[in-house]
Symmetry: C2
Subunit: 454 residues, 2 copies
């Protein structure tokens, strides 16, 4: 899958362990042995993901006057997925073993021979000639709405959020009086019954998308808008602190390009190891395919009325679609490092998350548990907590407390020491430079807020 080889080591196993131990990400329903490729975000993970989603929302919706927000439901009318092509075409080829009843993707490299032929060997039970011909398996999760399980009541868990935007195109345009070009953005869950999910939170059956569909005039500057969004979205990933050398554009080849797409680029991030460069966002020029299909299947017009020119048209769509979980994983991979610190025998693990995205902004410690230091530190922690998330810690050696915060990406550690009660100052230690500055306790909040850019 990775066309560009990775220059970075594989840190996934270490991250999975760190994420569980420190409360970023747990296996879903772990006490029951887990749910297949579904994950729960713990106390730190939920804050990291919230910060990431808020940042996207602010950049794409709140700070712009040409993009409107939306939060469409997961359960949509089933005709939506006929129009979108998902009922007919959102499939993977699957083969069964008649002997052991196991199932595989037809292109599973562990299968020896050609499925359906006498020479094909089952990778699970090892029998020959027991693998069926490939059949197409739909990746949408199916459920039933209403009290009866029958075909008329089938609904699907949406496999992408985009269609919720298309079917609401005129509702949004008319209620907001937006003029083309304009966009509609939403953050929400989507579900795919993947046969071979994996790589931690990279490919999961339940995931979250941050999508924006930009509606443009088909007779005007649609290619310019496509180029504009390509550049904007890459700039956004760089603004998260992802290394420039780990990001690239991958242009879809004619074979990769969806039949309706006019042009498509993926933004890929280098996850290291054998996973290497993988898509974290798609910037796709979808033409008028989707709106046309919904017009056809619903019998409702989805045309924009260009009043000044007294002209009606179905807009072209430029889509930007980010995986929220994949981007969170990219941040963790990008930030993870193991270091030796000069003058210390024990190394440290650091999550170099940008301060704005870090789950905890400051650790607050009394140097020792006496001489009024805990009281001073607790009071300061309480004051800071009114402005941003803070972790108060008084247990163990101070070096160990620093390292606990380094490992979860906390950018600043504030320590109350022997002189604090005398001159009302504390030290602030920087996670990356390890430098410490003495600051008046009353100015710590402002000092940190300034560095959070808020």
């Amino acid at each position: 899958m990775a066309s560009t080889p990775s220059a970075h080591p594989d840190v996934m196993e270490k991250l999975v362990s760190l994420c569980k131990r420190r409360g970023f990400i747990f296996q879903s329903s772990e006490i029951y042995g887990g749910t297949g490729s579904v994950w729960d975000y713990g106390p730190l993970g939920v804050e990291l993901k919230r910060n990431l989603k808020d940042r996207w929302w602010n950049a794409m919706v709140r700070s712009r006057d040409d993009i409107e927000g939306l939060d469409a439901a997961i359960l949509m009318h089933p005709r939506t997925w006929e129009a979108s092509g998902h009922v007919a075409g959102f499939t993977d080829p699957l083969v069964d073993c008649r002997n052991c009843k196991k199932r595989f993707r037809a292109d599973d490299p562990k299968i020896k021979g050609t499925p359906g032929q006498p020479d094909a060997q089952c990778p699970a039970c090892g029998m020959k000639g027991t693998l069926s011909e490939p059949r197409m398996f739909n990746l949408m999760f199916k459920t039933f709405m209403g009290p009866v399980e029958e075909s008329a009541s089938v609904v699907y868990l949406r496999p992408e959020t985009a269609q919720g935007i298309y079917v609401n195109f005129l509702n949004v345009q008319q209620s907001t009086r937006q003029k083309v070009p304009f966009g509609i953005a939403q953050i929400g869950k989507a579900f795919r019954n993947e046969i071979t999910p994996g790589n931690f939170i990279f490919r999961t059956r339940e995931f979250e998308q941050m999508e924006m569909q930009f509606f443009v005039d088909p007779e005007k500057d649609h290619m310019e808008w496509f180029e504009y969004w390509k550049a904007q979205r890459m700039a956004w990933h760089l603004s998260l602190g992802l290394d420039e050398g780990r990001l690239l554009f991958h242009q879809h080849t004619p074979e990769e390009l969806a039949h309706y797409a006019r042009a498509a680029f993926d933004i890929q991030f280098d996850f290291g190891g054998t996973l290497g460069f993988q898509e974290i966002e798609g910037v796709h020029h979808r033409g008028d395919f989707d709106l046309n299909r919904h017009q056809e299947y619903s019998g409702k017009k989805l045309e924009y009325f260009d009043q000044p020119n007294n002209r009606r048209f179905v807009p072209f769509v430029v889509e930007t679609s980010v995986g929220a979980d994949r981007t969170a994983l990219a941040l963790l991979v990008n930030g993870y490092r193991e270091e030796t610190v000069e003058g210390e025998t024990e190394g440290r693990v650091v999550l170099g998350l940008p301060a704005q995205l870090a789950p905890v902004k400051a650790g607050v410690f009394p140097l020792v548990k006496k001489d009024g230091m805990p009281e001073f530190a607790e009071k300061l922690a309480k004051e800071l907590r009114s402005a941003f998330p803070v972790f108060y810690d008084e247990s163990g050696a101070i070096g160990r407390r620093y390292r606990r915060q380094d490992e979860i990406g906390t950018p600043f550690c504030v320590t109350v020491d022997g002189t604090s009660n005398e001159d009302n100052t504390v030290t602030i230690r920087d996670r990356d430079t390890l430098q410490q500055v003495r600051v008046d306790a009353g100015k710590v909040k402002g000092w940190i807020l300034e560095r959070l850019g808020t």
Copy 2:
């Protein structure tokens, strides 16, 4: 259902219309005739709901050191729902008509006679004796994970978020080193295949919960914590600006009380009309029922280790569970008013939302479209947009533009007029008092931020 009669008129129909027209809430998949009792939040609705959820998250998680956040998956291991009792007991009684094949809740008041008996009359086709005996229908949405539709691959869409917290109790406690008493909070979607949903976004098949489970020592002050959370949660709803006279506690009677609950109060809001007082939040003392059941079904210990006393115990749980959609609806109902304005012939509709929750914080208008006023106003709008959502409007009479903003709850309208270019001042109009003050254009952002309490 409503035990306390309502003193307020029914504004639901007017709200549904306003919400569609102005972009708060649309019927899901409307172009396909809608999805049964599922709704999409439009540009204004998504901001209102985001503001509401952020406020809850800040109050319950970020500003406290004794509550941790979580974001567990919708698709959980199916044993979860055997342990919770939902597979066996989360059911409604249902009857079928053998003639017209329609289905009803057995207690549907439109049914004449006793279902299953010869005298029972079908409310749809009118035939007698065709209604079946009631059978129990499970309200969980069922789907299949993996490539085969068979009983071993059944999973459910979670009907509540609480169980995601219980199964993660030890993961969260151990990774954060929290000590009992402490809580775990999460916001997320849940799904119930209701037979009789309705009343706009009050009872829907897809909805969002804001839940917090507080773990307390069963031998200590658990009833005090229950009382504490009752008081805290009522105070929170009042802080949203909901009228005190429209809120009350409803104590569960012995018949209403779930078999495992030690005490339970609902916070009810008066939605007006025949809907009247209905639950928007539940504060429930669940004892050790849930953790015990998960221990039993998973074979894993879910005990807290009380180190100072060298004692292990399964904590009691006090739950606070708010419906995000219901609370959003309460805000809309509570804020909706029709007024006549002194000196004006045309009345106005106002959504009296608190400024902190309003989707748009300021409308910005040039008084007329000339003399540099649009340029001045656009520049100001752009500056304000860096801090909060703003709507720029230059079309139509100024009174009409004010009324458009009143109707969506915008607390402030900033007008650029003939003197703005001379002395750099603008007027700010208050939505509720209608009073206007002249403010230096450079101070508008600070003036509004101050009133948003940020």
